[in-house]
């Protein structure tokens, strides 16, 4: 059975009588990566500070391995976790000294500090920067140092607050891949905060959506993205069809993904055998009633049954069961012309280029 490392109950944080954060219940399981997503100002960082015992909630409790952290020694608790923030916030010392800082705070013996620091400089590929002053580093190098500093502590819980949001795109995607690898190698329980859906999908074993200071939904990424609990979550996640699958064939930039027995085509450069999330926006899906009515450039045609039709303004959101749940967004006019009703059989078509593949 998986153990709950961190639990939150009936948490409320107020700023001058205004509730800025409300989390009724949230559990973080041993070994998982929980991605907390939400737009800016949603209370994500506030939640992280509460979890890190750096901000006292006005109401509610945080439990670490079943014990309230308020009852535990604050310092002892903080030494079981590690924090990485958006800005690397390095000290004006060498890279080595920065990575060693947390170990020094803990009074770890000197030879062990050296060994663990060097190990993590190596694993984050910054060994060559060992003796460089930290303030001479580039943004990516600095954030690698900050990550090494946290990982070197071998924390029971690693907390990351939008560590990549200030980096340029190529640097960010490399670091993201490296962090993904490190998280799966070390199996460290992590809370990862981001406003970026791709980051959440890549790293999160589970995703928690925080909107307007309220925790709206927690679940596996594919569940949160395909079945948003409410309109706000749906609007925030945007992508509504997320299918987990494996790359069966990868050739010349064209990929065939095997998802629960269905073979789907996509464009991407992902090696064969990779586990991927197959993402589709509802507006990229075309519906038709009978097969072969017209020749089109859409590479994927899935037959399924309409489960639910939800009107939203001039559009209708159609949930189709093709063996996998697929959401399409069509105009009210199209729906009327085709006389679509719930329970009817339809063909959902979409182009290979409309697919967004996220390796996991």
């Amino acid at each position: 059975m998986v153990e709950t490392i961190l639990g939150v109950k009936d948490l409320i944080v107020r700023h001058s009588d205004q509730t800025v954060l409300q989390v009724d219940s949230l559990d973080i399981q041993e070994g998982e990566v929980l991605a907390i997503i939400g737009p800016n100002g949603a209370g994500k960082s506030t939640l992280l500070l509460v979890l890190g015992h750096l901000l006292h909630p006005d109401e509610g409790q945080v439990y670490f391995r079943g014990k309230s952290i308020e009852q535990e020694n604050e310092l002892a608790y903080r030494r079981r976790i590690a924090l990485v923030l958006q800005e690397p916030l390095l000290l004006h010392r060498s890279v080595f000294d920065n990575v060693a800082a947390g170990l020094k705070f803990r009074g770890v013996p000197r030879p062990e500090i050296k060994q663990r620091t060097d190990e993590w400089l190596e694993r984050l590929e910054i060994s060559h920067l060992r003796n460089r002053p930290a303030h001479s580093l580039s943004g990516g190098e600095a954030q690698r140092t900050s990550l090494a500093r946290a990982f070197a502590l071998q924390p029971e819980l690693l907390m990351l607050d939008e560590p990549f949001s200030a980096l340029d795109t190529p640097t960010r995607s490399r670091l993201l891949q490296d962090l993904h690898a490190l998280l799966s190698q070390t199996d460290v329980t992590s809370v990862f905060i981001t406003h970026d859906l791709d980051e959440a999908l890549l790293l999160g074993d589970r995703v928690a959506v925080l909107l307007g200071g309220v925790l709206r939904q927690v679940g596996r990424p594919q569940d949160v993205f395909t079945a948003p609990r409410d309109g706000d979550v749906a609007a925030f996640v945007g992508v509504e069809t997320v299918i987990a699958g494996n790359v069966a064939v990868s050739q010349n930039g064209l990929v065939i993904v095997d998802a629960s027995g269905l073979r789907l085509e996509a464009v991407g450069d992902v090696p064969t055998g990779t586990r991927v999330l197959f993402c589709l926006r509802p507006e990229d899906i075309t519906l038709s009633i009978s097969e072969g009515t017209a020749i089109s450039s859409a590479r994927n045609h899935l037959t399924g049954r309409i489960i639910r039709m939800t009107p939203s303004g001039p559009l209708v959101r159609v949930l189709i069961d093709c063996g996998l749940p697929i959401v399409a967004l069509i105009t009210r006019g199209s729906a009327n012309e085709m006389r679509l009703i719930e329970g009817q059989s339809v063909i959902a078509s979409f182009k290979a280029t409309a697919v967004h593949l996220i390796p996991r």
């Binding site: 500070l49 903080r78 916030l89 000290l91 705070f105």
Partner: protein
């Protein structure tokens, strides 16, 4: 005169270094506390008082300390008036606000999230504060230099509470005043040069410490 000069110089240095040291002892923790306690009620008011204290005229301090230590004053029984200890007290009152105010501003210049980061890496409150001091060591040493500079150059308070007594409380600045009033410019100039050299040497030492490892 030559042996007198040596004696005067040593006393100047002793008194001013001691006063700066005590100011550091008071000002560093107090300034740190004021910088870190951002929710403290009335913090702005306290800081404004301290900042005013940085511009405290030495003669006003001299008057206040003289009244306190006067034989008939509230602390008269300590018999400190016209002793080097009285000068140290007065100079401490002059330097402490300088050190406190500059310490507070030095630490307020650091990124406020650095504190959270240090705590989030498992620093105890004391380890956190020491790390912040190390981060702010440049402006902190500047605070110390400003504190020392304000007292080594000060004459009003030393004169009023020390009395410029030969072999007892005569310091470089009070000696310069005396020699000048006597019309003995040669001695006054010699003492002035000595005072400048002294100030330079102390500040050179502090600057070397300050600049070490900043490249």
């Amino acid at each position: 005169m030559t042996s007198d000069i040596f004696e005067i110089t040593v006393l100047s240095l002793k008194v001013s270094l001691l006063a700066t040291g005590i100011s550091l002892f008071i000002g560093l923790p107090l300034g740190t506390w004021l910088a870190l306690r951002r929710q403290l009620r009335g913090r702005g008011f306290i800081l404004s008082i301290i900042n005013t204290g940085m511009a405290l005229p030495p003669v006003v301090v001299g008057l206040f300390v003289a009244m306190m230590l006067w034989r008939s004053g509230p602390l008269g029984s300590l018999e400190l008036i016209y002793t080097p200890a009285a000068i140290v007290i007065a100079q401490t009152i002059i330097a402490a606000p300088v050190v406190t105010g500059l310490t507070a501003s030095a630490l307020q210049q650091l990124n406020p999230r650095l504190r959270l980061q240090l705590l989030g890496l498992g620093a105890s409150p004391i380890q956190m504060v020491i790390s912040l001091w190390r981060e702010a060591r440049l402006p902190l040493l500047a605070a110390l230099m400003a504190g020392f500079g304000s007292v080594i150059s000060e004459v009003g308070a030393s004169m009023m509470v020390g009395g410029n007594i030969r072999h007892q409380t005569r310091v470089l600045t009070t000696a310069i005043v005396l020699e000048t009033s006597r019309g003995d410019f040669q001695n006054a100039i010699a003492l002035s040069i000595l005072l400048l050299i002294l100030a330079y040497m102390v500040n050179l030492g502090l600057t070397i410490i300050q600049q070490r490892g900043t490249r």
